[in-house]
C-alpha cells in the first residue's frame, strides 16, 4: 500500500468541497475514465472582484487524486484568479505534506484542471501564454504544453520523473522519443535561463532510443537494409496481412495507412481501440514487423476516422 501522509488520508476520507457546484461559471475537465483518472473542477468567480468565491470538484481516481482535488479547492477559495494562477502542482503536494513520487501526477492533474477552469471562465478573451502543442502521449492524452509545464515547475530531468508527474510514457512507451525531445529542449532553455544546473539537466546522449537502434543494426538481418521504399512497403503490407487474422480473432482489425521512413502508421479498429489495450496491440504489431522486416520500425496508431 502507498505511504500516504496523514493529510492525504484525511482529505481522502473526508474530502472538502466534493460534489457539484450548481451555479459554476468556470468548469475545467481533465483526464478520462479510460486513463484511470479524471477531474472536474467547478468554480464560482465574482466577475467584479475576480475572486473565487466557491470551488467544488468531482474526481475519479486514486485516493491521492481525490485528496489533491480537494486540497486544490481549499487552496484557491478566496483567492483572485491571478493569485490562483500563481499556484503550482507543488503547492498542492506541499499542502498535503507530500505525495509518493509515483503519484505526483495527481497534483499535476489538479493544476491542469485549475488552468482549464479559469480558461473556461475567461472564455474567448483568454489568451493562453503557453502553446498547448501537439498531442505527445496518445495513451494518456497528454499534450506538449502539459509536459513542458510539469518539467519547468518541478525541474524534472529524467523520463521516469516525467512519467511520475504526467503519466506520459507510462503505458506503451512509443511516445518516448517525443517526450525526450521536449525534456531535452526545455532543460536546455532552463539551463540557459539559469534555472537549472547543467550537470543534472537531461542529457539526450543518455537516451534509451539510440541504444535500441544499435541493437537492431547489429542484427543479422541488417543486410536487408538497402531495400527500396516500395519493397519496404510491400513487406510491411504482407506482414500486416499476416497479423490481421490474429487481431480479427480478438475482435479487432488493423490497416496500413502510411510508411514514413521508419514510422509505420496504422489504424486500429474494433476491439483494438481504447487506450491501453491498443498499446498492447501496437507493441505486438511492432514486434512482428521488426522481426519480419529486420529493421527498426516504429508503429504509430492514427486515430480512427483520420
Amino acid at each position: 500500500m502507498w505511504d500516504y501522509t496523514d493529510k492525504v488520508k484525511e482529505y481522502f476520507y473526508n474530502p472538502k468541497n466534493a460534489g457539484v457546484l450548481e451555479d459554476a461559471n468556470g468548469i475545467g475537465d481533465v483526464g478520462a475514465i479510460s486513463c484511470g483518472d479524471a477531474l472536474r473542477l467547478m468554480l464560482k468567480v465574482d466577475p467584479e472582484t475576480e475572486i473565487i468565491t466557491a470551488a467544488k470538484f468531482q474526481t475519479f481516481g486514486c485516493g491521492s487524486a481525490i485528496a489533491s482535488s480537494s486540497a486544490l479547492t481549499e487552496l484557491i477559495i478566496g483567492k483572485t484568479i491571478s493569485e490562483a494562477m500563481q499556484l503550482t502542482n507543488q503547492d498542492i503536494a506541499d499542502f498535503l505534506g507530500g505525495l509518493p513520487p509515483e503519484k505526483m501526477h495527481c497534483s499535476v492533474m489538479g493544476y491542469e484542471a485549475l488552468r482549464a477552469a479559469i480558461a473556461n471562465y475567461k472564455g474567448d478573451t483568454w489568451v493562453d501564454d503557453h502553446e498547448e502543442g501537439e498531442l505527445l502521449c496518445k495513451c494518456f492524452g497528454i499534450d506538449e504544453g502539459m509536459v513542458e509545464r510539469a518539467i519547468r515547475v518541478n525541474k524534472l530531468t529524467t523520463i521516469e520523473q516525467v512519467t511520475h508527474f504526467t503519466k506520459a510514457v507510462g503505458s506503451c512507451g512509443t511516445c518516448i522519443e517525443g517526450v525526450e525531445g521536449v525534456l531535452g529542449r526545455v532543460n536546455r532553455d532552463m539551463v540557459a535561463a539559469g534555472e537549472l544546473d547543467a550537470a543534472i539537466a537531461f542529457d539526450p546522449a543518455s537516451s534509451a532510443i539510440p541504444r535500441r537502434r544499435e541493437r537492431h543494426k547489429a542484427s543479422p538481418l541488417g543486410a536487408k537494409q538497402q531495400m527500396t521504399t516500395l519493397q519496404k512497403i510491400k513487406l510491411i503490407e504482407g506482414a500486416i496481412e499476416e497479423i490481421r487474422p490474429y487481431l480479427k480473432s480478438d475482435g479487432g482489425d488493423c490497416e496500413l495507412v502510411d510508411v514514413d521512413g521508419d514510422r509505420v502508421l496504422v489504424r486500429l479498429s474494433g476491439a483494438c481501440i481504447g487506450c491501453q489495450a491498443a498499446s498492447v496491440t501496437i507493441n505486438g504489431i511492432q514486434e512482428r514487423l521488426v522481426a519480419k522486416i529486420g529493421r527498426p520500425l516504429r508503429v504509430i496508431p492514427v486515430p480512427a476516422g483520420h
Partner: protein
C-alpha cells in the same frame, strides 16, 4: 473490531499447525539433510515424510516427481527455461494473455533477449481460453505450452487436461502454473497428461519462500541452479527443511479441508457475491462463474477507482485487492481484465475478494454491511456516475 482478511490469493496465514510442525527444525533438528550424522538423518526422514504429504495432495505416484523450489515463480521459470533446452529443434512458447507475471515477464524477456517466439492465446469476456486459437498456436516448433490451472485475479479455471492433450498432439510439453489451484481443487496427477506443474507454499497456509515443481516421470529437466546434488541434482541448494516440512503439513491440512473448501468456502463466496450485486447497482462479476475456484470473487464496480475502495475498506479493517492502475503503480489496470476486454468504466473499479477456510459468515456480513456505503460515497465523488447508466459489456452475471 476483528480484521477481515479476504486477500488469500495474495497470500495466506500460515496455519498454526504448520508452524508447530516447522518449529523443531529451526532449533533442535537443525541439521543438514546431507550430513552423515544423526543431526542430518532425522531431518532427512522428516523431509521424506513431507514429500509424501505433498504427493498425496497432488496425487502423484513417484517421489522424485517433485522438485522443491524457493517459490512459485522459480518453479515457473525452471519449467519454461528447461523445456527450451531439452526440446531439441523446438524454440517456441505458447502461453496465454492472462498468466501471472512469473510466466509473462519471463516470456517477454525471452522474446527480447533471445528472439524466442511466444504466442499469447487470448481469452473471451469471461476469461475463458480461446481453445481454437490455442490449437492453431501449437506447432512443430513449440517447445512448451504453459497455461495456468486457475487465474489468480478471477479464479477462472482452465481445462488443463484438454490443453495438455492438444500440446502433446503437437509434440510439445505442457506446463501449468497451478499456484492458485493447489489446495483449492482436487488433483490426481498420476492419471494426468500434465508434464510439469508449479505450486507455491504461501498460497495454501504454508510459509513464503517455498514452492515446488512437479515433473512427470520421464520428462527431462534442466536445472535452473547448478551446485550440490540436492533434489537429485535438479535443484542445488541445501534443502529449506522448515519450509518443505511446513509445506508438507499444509498439504496434509489441505486434504483434510478440501471438502470444506469446495462447499462451505464456496457458499461464503457466493453469498458475498449475490449480496453485493443485490445491494449495489452497476456492478458485475468478472470471470467464468460456472468454472471458478471456490474461493475467488472478482467484482467490478462501475465508475469508481479501486484504490479508493481498498483504502476505505482498509479503514474498516477489511483486506482485499484490486486490479486497478492506482494500486499497482503501473498506471494501467490489470492485464487480465484488459485481456477480457472489461470496459475501462469498470476495470478500474474491479475488486477481488479471495477467501480461505479461515473465513466465516461474520466476515461476509461485515463486507455486505460496509461495501454499499463505500461505493455510494465514491460514486458521489465521481464525475462519471449517473445512476442507471448502461454498460456495453456482457458480464458473467449482474
Amino acid at each position: 473490531m476483528r480484521p477481515v482478511y479476504l486477500d488469500n490469493n495474495a497470500t495466506t496465514r500460515v496455519d498454526p499447525k504448520v508452524v508447530e510442525a516447522m518449529l523443531p527444525f529451526f532449533t533442535e533438528q537443525f541439521g543438514n539433510a546431507s550430513s552423515m550424522h544423526a543431526f542430518g538423518s532425522e531431518v532427512g526422514t522428516a523431509l521424506k515424510r513431507a514429500r509424501q504429504q505433498l504427493q498425496a495432495l497432488l496425487g502423484t505416484e513417484f517421489d522424485h516427481e517433485i522438485v522443491y523450489t524457493g517459490s512459485g515463480t522459480e518453479a515457473d521459470n525452471t519449467a519454461i527455461l528447461s523445456a527450451l533446452e531439452t526440446q531439441t529443434g523446438r524454440d517456441e512458447i505458447v502461453t496465454s494473455t492472462v498468466e501471472h507475471p512469473a510466466i509473462l515477464a519471463l516470456c517477454q524477456w525471452l522474446q527480447k533477449s533471445r528472439g524466442i517466439k511466444v504466442s499469447y492465446v487470448p481469452v473471451d469476456s469471461r476469461g475463458r481460453l480461446d481453445i481454437e486459437a490455442y490449437r492453431k498456436a501449437l506447432g512443430p516448433k513449440t517447445a512448451i505450452a504453459s497455461i495456468m490451472w486457475a487465474n489468480n485475479e478471477t479464479g477462472t479455471i482452465f481445462p488443463v487436461e484438454t490443453l495438455a492433450d492438444l500440446a502433446h498432439e503437437a509434440g510439445a510439453l505442457f506446463h501449468t502454473d497451478a499456484v492458485q489451484a493447489v489446495g483449492k481443487v482436487p488433483m490426481d496427477l498420476k492419471t494426468s497428461e500434465i508434464d510439469m506443474l508449479s505450486l507455491s507454499g504461501h498460497k495454501l497456509h504454508a510459509p513464503k519462500g517455498v514452492g515446488a515443481l512437479y515433473v512427470r516421470r520421464g520428462v527431462r529437466l534442466r536445472p535452473l541452479l547448478r551446485g550440490g546434488h540436492q533434489e537429485r541434482g535438479r535443484r542445488a541448494s541445501t534443502e529449506n527443511a522448515p519450509g518443505i516440512i511446513g509445506l508438507g503439513a499444509a498439504a496434509d491440512l489441505a486434504i483434510q479441508h478440501m471438502q470444506d473448501e469446495q462447499t462451505r468456502v464456496a457458499a461464503l463466496r457466493d453469498r458475498l457475491e449475490k449480496g453485493l450485486l443485490q445491494r449495489i447497482g452497476n456492478a458485475f462479476v468478472t470471470g467464468d462463474a460456472d468454472n471458478r475456484l471456490p474461493n475467488t470473487a472478482n467484482i467490478a464496480f462501475e465508475f469508481i477507482e479501486g484504490e479508493g475502495i481498498l483504502l476505505l475498506l482498509n479503514k474498516e479493517g477489511i483486506a482485499c485487492s484490486s486490479g486497478s492502475a492506482c494500486t499497482s503503480g503501473s498506471l494501467e489496470p490489470s492485464h487480465v481484465l484488459r485481456a477480457m476486454k472489461v470496459p475501462y468504466t469498470a476495470a478500474h473499479g474491479a475488486i477481488r475478494f479471495s477467501f480461505s477456510r479461515e473465513n466465516d459468515d461474520a466476515d461476509v456480513d461485515r463486507v455486505l454491511d460496509v461495501m454499499p456505503k463505500i461505493v455510494e460515497k465514491l460514486r458521489a465523488l465521481s464525475p462519471f456516475w449517473k445512476s442507471g447508466a448502461k454498460t456495453d459489456f456482457e458480464p458473467t452475471y449482474a
